[in-house]
Point group: D3
Chain length 248, copies 6
């Protein structure tokens, strides 16, 4: 199967890192390609960044459909464009926040999230509510580091994340920690070693869930509310989306 | 005050209709301008349409900021881009779904929604959950008419909406009905006359809520999670959004 | 329109203050009268005080109906008698707790409440649950000052409220603060200046919401569960309520 | 122990009936007196009736305190004045709605309510929410009979209640039925015989719960939010409530 | 009536203590017998201990059915085997966790739980959710003492429990404390004296609730989901359960 | 990896069928062994059957631990013994109900369950609540066929299940159906063909989720509430469980 990991931001170093993390856990038969939109924010740290990035995510799915991609991962912790992306394809589309939450509840009864900036906490809270995991998550914590510091200022960022993870472990009555940013995909092992309880990262979790769905012969339901969008006219810069019809 | 009603789709007839509906309820001191994105879907009937339309909504807010707009209404029942729009301005931004829900709970204990297509029901359900009104809404009903039929095929659409509203009244143990589409903004009175219980429409509701917030000297909180986005680089077609900083 | 603000307690200084606060935000066309019951508690700080005060609130609404009042505000943070008051009239009736909650969610994603006495916190909690805002409110805080201290001991009370608001701002991950007592209606501006994030007060919020409902041509639904009470006999001191029938 | 059953309405026939029902289940050591306010509605079928009746309920509790009553039952299915009544005494105070809900969950996993008028359903719904039983109750059903028909028109009322109970049994996937009116206290056995699944009535349930609390040496907590109200001035017709202080 | 208190663990000292506590509150007409399984864990401090103990509980209920027991109490705070036990009998079966929660909500608006080991907190949380009391419980606290320390090391255990109860009282905004272990049944009075707010213990609470259900002529519903299990074959060590049919 | 599928009942034909279904979806590197307890019910259709079966499930996990099993699946839709099983091992343990729910939410927004007997519906409801999926499941439906009819009376059972699935599809506004019994593991494809929307079966779903967890290098958290049980004495027939200590 061909699994496409879409980094919703346009920082290619992060795309590469995310692709590598994904490949480390991919099954033998899984070919993993990592892409990013050509247009959009270099990092995603607000509802605004997310809304803009969703366009790129959706275009990447449309591209993927022409390339017979079998499953998609949206590699930003806010799962930008997830529902819309699912409408565009019969393939499964997995967000890394949802993937991490699902995995966390399979190996623990309660978890905390450690994310980058406090202001993105509300995005995680809204996702927890919509996905049904509000009561499984004890606390959303922030290390207060901008996303790109993970690229440019790795060791300082790492140390602040580990500190916050330790506080979560000691104060939150949890069994696992969820890392709240796709840019932390390469840090999981090191953090887990330092902190001493399971640490779950969404990119890798999403890869395995996507493989699981495909392995069951399942894909996004095209019956009901995730059916292909009704073809229609789009105007102006989005005209190319007009009359979009299912490719398969 | 200058209130801008943003029609998130690009059908100018609908923009005009929405603008008129808004002006009918605007207070004497409220100047209302209705706009629409130059690019995007001609109607919004899916998560995909919504995600694309959000870009246009956000650009309209950025434009509004340069024109000293005092309040914004997002006139599509899915409230596309609402949280992101709020980040861009000190002015209040009101979605028409949220506005209708708030109004409905002020005059009744339980309401039902009558929307266009069944497939958009899940969007309304998710909003109800996030806004806190899940238990106040008895049922999300669909008349199963495409949005643009409201423009092109008005009398048939009208009759199907009224039929569904009557069923809601008779079967749902409710005190009010919420109309689930900005394109129904001109039908409210006629439907209410036929159905005989309060019928709430979001465009007009949002205008009054926006006036209320401004009248209190309040605006979108810039403290915490709706603060202005951190300025950053955007690439490609979105480069013009780079380094965006609060204009006021 | 004629808007009546009902102070549910019988302290006329507070009625005057609340009336002034209401008038400061009333629209040009809104005539605001402030009243209070002739019988009842001088302040409301318990379920018991609330239950007794509800009688006065309802009598004030009945009086208002004879005077063609167009909208009512119940100016105590427990919203005493709200549902019952709505049954008595076609006009909208807005409680100040509910009004403040609605406003807070329009300009922020999460808020905290700062109220007078800790023992009234449970009243606010129950309202949050019934109105749907449980998860929007991070915390109910108390400055531990009796209500009438706001009248008699203003500067000390003020300083304790500001201290508690600052703690809310610094510890609660919120975007706005709701003041939990009608007696704080005159303090909003000063507190907001000191605290530096939006501060929402219910009396003024309710005035604007009442204007909004009336401006839409809406009123309390008389269909279903807020219909006029069935006329019936009342005995003893409540005999005058017998056979009560809608005046309009 | 002396248990006082307070009928919140002023129909003495109903008070007598409720008292008899209570005595039928009272333990040997339980002396049961049934009272009613001297002033208030003859039946309770709306939020308005409830709010007025609460005054009488509270006065009856104050009277009871002077008579060394050991436990109180509030015998109207809306539990009018329950929280306020608890503030006035160290004795337990049990509402018949809450009592019936508690009992129902001890003998079944899901129940339905059969009440008198549809318009009172919302009162039951709000209680279910506040007490935590929303998901234990499948459905609130109404036989659409006015409360006093239970007194005056017994056999017709009985037959409609039984019909509705049968529909609940056959359609709702339940294990028990809760009767939603104190006026049905004498019908429980007959209905249960006809319907063939456990039928729970609140007056009797509340008597046994009150005995249970007293039997444990417990009473209403006077620590925290149900503490005695702060003594204060009441004006006008309620002046006699001024300076109210705990009698024991 | 004959009430059987089943201690789900096999420590006879604890069975004796629980039996005594039960008898102290039993009504004159209530004969109380305390039993324990002949096989199972000596204490219950994990999901595993609970699952094994459930077998013993169910066997005790089957034994009780042959001895015409009228009501059962399951005296471990996790309520092990509760739903299954209810299927086996027309008699009421009450768990001590559920009993304590019910009682706590009748005398206070919010409570905290003080249990033995932190690891069992999740069991209490799951029960709170299923029973509907999630929002009534402020916090689940642990004194971090193994269950059998209550037998062997009483004074140290007692002192740690009292310390934790005091913290609950001072920090949690509660009106009552629930003791989270059947082994604390003899400590209730002493703790309440030290802590100064109502302390609720489940064994005694369950005895009174069981008496209440029996006193109403009610028992576990045999209609629907708690009906007797369909008779069927069991194999191996559980063969004696084959073809189990209702004894009465 | 070695994945053990535990059929909690003792019907070997069902164990064989479940094993085959599991192997059909297992990855190349996954060795799948299917086992069943030597003692317990031949089918699981009640809380009682479930409670007894849990012992066998736990013994199978203990056996598996000695055989270096890498992951476990509990193949009964009530997930009997799931939390307890997780305490016994560092390996992941996946229940088939939870697995099916997780999968369903990854490919649709709302699903319904079609199970065997109506009386087991409450078990599914409780699981949905504890796992967080209450609002994702529209309805729990029963074909009203005993579990063993799936073995002995296949074509009639099949036809009733398909009928119920069609009703779910047509009436429930869903995107997917979850089959609510391990005994349906071989029917999934055929049902999906007949019904025309995704049909999810738990055994296969759980296999893929178990592979996913192992593929991430994760296992059941041994930090906090799923830690190994404290070693202790067990008496009588369960004496062999005494002093149980982690084998790895």
């Amino acid at each position: 199967m061909h699994l496409r990991v879409i980094n919703p931001n346009t920082t290619s170093a992060m795309t590469a890192k995310i692709g590598e993390a994904a490949r480390r856990v991919g099954a033998p038969g899984t070919r993993i390609s990592a892409t990013q939109p050509d247009s959009g924010p270099v990092s995603i740290e607000s509802h605004f960044d997310e809304a803009i990035s969703a366009v790129g995510v959706l275009e990447e799915v449309l591209t993927g459909e022409r390339e017979d991609v079998d499953a998609y991962v949206i590699a930003c912790f806010g799962d930008p464009g997830l529902m819309a992306a699912r409408e565009l394809t019969r393939a499964p589309v997995i967000g890394i926040a949802e993937a991490a939450f699902h995995m966390a509840t399979l190996i623990s009864t309660r978890f905390s999230i450690v994310t980058t900036l406090g202001r993105t906490g509300i995005i995680a809270e809204h996702l927890l509510e919509n996905y049904g995991f509000r009561h499984h998550c004890r606390r959303v914590r922030a290390a207060e580091i901008p996303v790109l510091d993970l690229e440019e200022n790795g060791s300082v960022a790492m140390s602040r994340i580990i500190d916050e993870c330790r506080r979560a472990r000691d104060e939150d009555s949890i069994g696992a920690i969820v890392l709240g940013c796709g840019g932390m995909a390469d840090l999981t092992g090191a953090i887990a070693n330092e902190v001493g309880l399971p640490v779950i990262e969404g990119v890798t979790a999403a890869v395995k869930l996507a493989e699981a769905v495909v392995g069951l012969g399942l894909g996004t339901s095209k019956y009901g509310d995730l059916a292909f969008p009704r073809p229609k006219a789009f105007t102006g810069r989005f005209e190319r989306l007009s009359g979009l019809a299912p490719s398969r």
